[in-house]
């Protein structure tokens, strides 16, 4: 698929090229005699690593890497079957992130750990975000990283040889010499047109959320694979811990991703056009309201999380329209989601890894506007063989033993489809929870301190549940439903927009033992759950967040505007006192 697409695009480009040459005469675009794509140069194969490097690397490999990548480097270690994406199978010599042309081996030189000239070294150093491969910098020394790569490239890559001049060549993207084009509006606009022209949107989706053709894509080993979501650049495998750097996108677009349906566009796209596309794709990545990149937490390489979710007051009705000023002025919060892997059915691979949540309230209700990227809209087709409220059910889990039939990757995109869904959990008696029974357990502490769960599903239902402990099934509450309201639910181009309203409650006529009372100016522990129906998510197989705090911002009290003036006045008096004192003292001295 890889090469054929490249060829086709090449022919189209060649004809376009011909026309351009006729019309414009001498162009900047000059294909060299060697027929190297623009921006690339022929390079030399690196020498074979020294034998002692390989031997030392074996020790590193069997301490750190073997657990996922396997004894023979076939990507079938003990951890492999519960991971998706699966660990790399080294045997074929297929590597994703490279500076070399499509289909070629990546750059690796055991003597030269130079950034930009040693792809495999950079992969081990920075890890592959969005997969289980961590950054090994600070854990392994530079030397150790080079050693383990010497072992992998010589002993575990079996079908190809890094030093074989007969069969291997290196055509290297000269990224250091290419100056990024400034990300002007014009450049981004041109990029937005090019991604349609180059058919990027067919896989990556109309808004670049990776939702196009998400089901038919397979990698070289036949495992299901998903197009990248351009809005989460911190999950780009090639982001090199520098996710907002446009060069990473330019590189991936120029060299393609070996072993996947992502081709190289180097033959068919001029360097200038490639910068336009890279600038546009980079501009899509989530940014703060001022348009600055989100700050990335160096501990996790994901955006920093603020655990307080502010809810702003509105007078009268809460607007249902997202474009309304009240919503636009409200701070969006990133809610980080992990897989629920504590109780069966467990979710080792959560496809929803974050939500964006905003909130507004008035005296009667609080509304959460929840947005999240989901490549597929899922409405239940089959009936779940167990009740979705049940926990600890006896289901067949992914086979943890090595062997690909039972693995998550083999199952992926073959699950029975259930409802996409999202739920908000709040403890009922958060005011008087003693410290030991703090709502630290998801799903409630016990009968005395339950949690209040409201769950929206893609079939349109919005129901309330009670949770009384993480080992306990949820209990559905019959009567509370009528208080709940879905103000909006829409799936568009790979993103859900759901606006959920629930009562804030009051002390007078609220069933205080059943519902959460939302009090202004208090920190109300809040947990979010999310389900991706096409991932087989149902019941407790879901994504969960940590405890956040809903904080209903009180209007500013009047004293706040008065006291500072009083204090400032006091300071003026103090100053006068100090000055007089000093003046008197001086007088006394001089006299």
């Amino acid at each position: 698929m890889n090469t054929s697409m490249g060829k086709k695009a090449g022919i189209v480009l060649a004809s376009a090229f011909g026309l351009a040459l006729f019309s414009a005469g001498p162009l900047v675009l000059t294909a060299s005699a060697e027929d190297v794509p623009q921006g690339f140069k022929k390079g030399e194969l690196a020498p074979e690593p020294a034998a002692d490097m390989i031997e030392a690397g074996k020790r590193v490999y069997f301490t750190k890497c073997v657990w996922c990548h396997g004894v023979d480097g076939a990507g079938d270690g003990p951890g492999a079957d519960r991971l998706w994406p699966r660990p790399r199978n080294f045997n074929q010599g297929t590597f994703k992130i490279r500076h070399t042309a499509s289909g070629e081996l990546p750059l690796f030189d055991a003597k030269k750990p130079t950034p930009g000239q040693n792809d495999l070294f950079e992969t081990v150093t920075h890890g592959l975000p969005g997969s289980a491969m961590p950054s090994w910098e600070g854990i392994l020394t530079e030397e150790q990283r080079l050693q383990v790569l010497s072992f992998v490239t010589t002993q575990l890559v079996k079908d190809r040889k890094f030093t074989d001049k007969q069969s291997e060549s290196q055509t290297i993207l000269q990224l250091a010499d290419l100056k990024p084009k400034e990300a002007t509006e014009e450049s981004k606009k041109r990029g937005s047109e090019l991604i349609v022209e180059k058919k990027c949107v067919e896989c990556h989706g109309m808004e670049g959320r990776g939702d196009g053709n998400a089901f038919n894509l397979k990698d070289d080993w036949g495992f299901s694979i998903q197009p990248a979501n351009w809005h989460k650049c911190w999950n780009f495998r090639g982001s090199r811990q520098d996710p907002y750097n446009v060069k990473n996108i330019f590189r991936t677009f120029s060299t393609g991703v070996n072993g996947t349906p992502m081709p190289s566009f180097a033959d068919s796209t001029s360097v200038d056009d490639r910068w336009d596309i890279a600038n546009f794709v980079n501009s899509l990545c989530e940014r703060d309201p001022e348009g600055n990149p989100l700050s990335i937490d160096p501990q996790t390489d994901k955006p920093k999380v603020n655990f307080v979710l502010p809810s702003n007051p509105v007078e009268g009705e809460i607007p249902m329209d997202m474009e309304n000023e009240a919503w636009q002025k409200t701070q969006k919060r990133l809610i980080a989601m992990g897989g629920q892997i504590t109780h069966k059915p467990r979710n080792f691979v959560n496809r929803i890894d974050d939500l964006w949540v905003r909130s507004l309230y008035n005296e009667k209700s609080i509304v959460y506007l929840i947005e999240w990227d989901d490549r597929t809209k899922s409405v239940a087709e089959g009936k779940l063989p167990w009740a979705p409220t049940q926990v600890n059910i006896d289901v067949k889990e992914q086979d943890p033993k090595t062997g690909e039939e039972g693995s998550i990757a083999a199952h992926q995109n073959n699950y029975a489809v259930y409802n996409d869904a999202v739920a908000i959990e709040t403890p009922v008696k958060w005011q008087d929870l003693p410290a030991p029974i703090k709502p630290r357990y998801l799903f409630g502490s016990n009968e005395q301190y339950p949690v209040d769960i409201v769950k929206w599903e893609a079939d349109g239902s919005f129901r309330a549940f009670k949770g009384t402990g993480w080992d306990k099934d949820f209990e559905e509450r019959d009567s509370y439903e009528e208080n709940l309201k879905v103000l909006k639910s829409e799936w568009k181009n790979g993103r859900w927009y759901v606006m959920l309203q629930r009562p804030v409650g009051n002390k007078k006529d609220q069933d205080y033992d059943e519902d959460t009372l939302f009090e202004m100016g208090k920190y109300i522990p809040t947990v979010f759950f999310a389900w991706d129906g096409h991932n087989g998510d149902a019941g407790r197989k879901m994504a969960v967040s940590a405890f956040y705090y809903t904080f209903m911002q009180p209007p500013t009290p009047r004293e706040v505007y008065i006291y500072p003036f009083v204090i400032a006045g006091g300071i003026v008096l103090l100053e006068a006192w100090v000055l007089t004192r000093r003046a008197n003292k001086r007088k006394g001295k001089t006299l």
């Binding site: 020790r59 590193v60 069997f62 301490t63 750190k64 657990w67 996922c68 004894v71 003990p78 079957d81 519960r82 289980a132 961590p134 090994w136 910098e137 600070g138 854990i139 020394t141 150790q144 160096p298 501990q299 996790t300 999380v305 655990f307 307080v308 502010p310 980080a336 989601m337 992990g338 897989g339 892997i341 504590t342 069966k344 080792f348 959560n350 890894d353 943890p400 030991p436 703090k438 630290r440 357990y441 998801l442 993480w470 969960v544 967040s545 705090y549 904080f551 911002q553 500013t556 706040v560 500072p564 003036f565 204090i567 400032a568 006045g569 300071i571 100053e575 100090v578 000055l579 001086r586």
Partner: protein, 345 residues
Amino acid sequence: MKALMSVGALVGAIALLLLVGMILDVVPSNTVRLVEGYMPIQMLLEVACFVAGFTGLSYMLSSMGMAVPRFWQGIGFWAFVLLYLKFRVYPPIPFSVRAMYGTVSLVAVFMWVSANEDDWKKFKQPIMNVLDAQSGANKMLRYAYLVLIPVLVGFTSFNAMRPKSEEPVELRTVHPAPPASTKVHGKTYTLQTSQNPYRVNPEGKFDQEYSNKLIVEQGMGRLMAPNANPFDEKNQGYLKYVKEGGEIFFQNCHFCHGDNLNGRGLHAFAFNPIPANFTDPGTIAQLQETFIFWRVAKGGIGLPNEGFPWASVMPPWEQHLTVDEIWKVILFEYWHTGYYPRTWD
């Protein structure tokens, strides 16, 4: 002396530029990385480097006739400490702690500038000059302060009084007191007397000395001891079980505790606080194997009320793993981090 001082000055200037550059994002903020596990010592070294640099800088400047007044030296150094604590130390320390360090360093700066009468005079001279306002410039300055200070204080108090939504601080107990015994899969284990049944030599006898010889080596990388590869098929005893424990770890635990057992797993970023870091000398290295056995088997929910407050969503692994599997995982965790479990005596 001069040469030494100029080297100091050079170091100081470069370090200062680098720090400011990293704060303002002119150079990438990861130019000088914090090395995991060596953070406190690295911080001390860095600050020492800065102090040496400042000494050199001030010496050079004064020898060039551009001496910095003692007043500004004091203020500047205090500002540096505050900025360093705020922007350099990672993970960030809460404001209350920073305020404490700030006060301590303020006191230190005062002690430094008032070490003798001369210094103290030199230090307060600029303040007195402004108060007395003998020259035109000082008069201007005095009026400016007269207006600026009340405005600043008023604004700060307004900011402080405005309703804010900062994350409430929640403390947690890291190592809650264990019970005397724990019942797992129908069998009671006394924590003081139980032993890991897989810490055995090839003959199958409990042998801590034998297993201690085969754990990974301390130091960068924590690599396995030479000729102690758990994947060697000829292994009997300890190393064979380490491999089996590793298999269980990489099917169940690494999602949170990480591929390198440092608490940075695939799902770690969704947690608050992030999961336990076993490579930190403050976690499993401080504990007995039976303590870990109890924690793994009972999870966060099994923590005693006396040990509150705590924060853990670790499941009771007895629901997913057999007793044998739990012991093997523990064996693996000690092997992989290169720590010896503590013993009861």
